[in-house]
């Protein structure tokens, strides 16, 4: 592995890890469910995406193979649906939104 790829891989790894962590922090410390919904569904997509990319690059030196991309594709397809379903569930259950939220969730 050339040093450059190594740097790139390392950087991507760190970025991925950082975003994953940030997403989790968001999940842990944001005040209400709807805000917490933002943490994971995004930061982790970026996080996983970056880690994925690092893996692609890392293994490209061993040989061709980019099935990691598919993981990202699938994640991008499904993550919004999970978020959507969870939001619907939360609205249905009347989960409280934080004070100062503009607008109202729909009645389900």
């Amino acid at each position: 592995m050339s040093p450059i790829t190594e740097y790139i891989v390392s950087a991507l790894l760190i970025v991925g890890g950082a975003f994953t962590l940030v997403g989790a922090i968001g999940l842990a410390r944001l005040p209400d469910f709807f805000t917490r919904l933002h943490g994971p569904t995004k930061a982790t997509t970026v996080g996983v995406g970056a880690i994925m990319l690092s893996s692609v690059i890392y293994f490209s030196s061993h040989g061709f193979g980019i099935s990691e991309i598919l993981i990202t594709v699938f994640l991008f397809m499904t993550a919004p649906v999970s978020a959507n379903m969870l939001a619907k569930a939360a609205m249905h259950m009347g989960v409280k939104s934080m004070k100062g939220t503009q607008g109202n969730p729909w009645e389900q």
Partner: protein, 89 residues
Amino acid sequence: MMTTALYLTIAMVMVAALLNVYRLIKGPDAPDRVLALDTLYINAIAMIILLGIAFNSRMYLESGLLIAVMGFVSTVAMAKYLKRGSVIE
């Protein structure tokens, strides 16, 4: 260099997972828990890929692929249960 980055990343992902577990246990509402679980699944993908890099093996990637394809189904099922009760009707 890369090893350090790898370990750092693994540590960060593990801490993230820890935070997820914290949220999962704390709740307070069912959707929070499911959300935490969903996130944990995504963290698991990250962990598996990192594992693959650490072991220098691509044998584990498909496990990640599987989570990507199937993991959301349990989230969806749980969410649907929470609001609709019946998952398959």
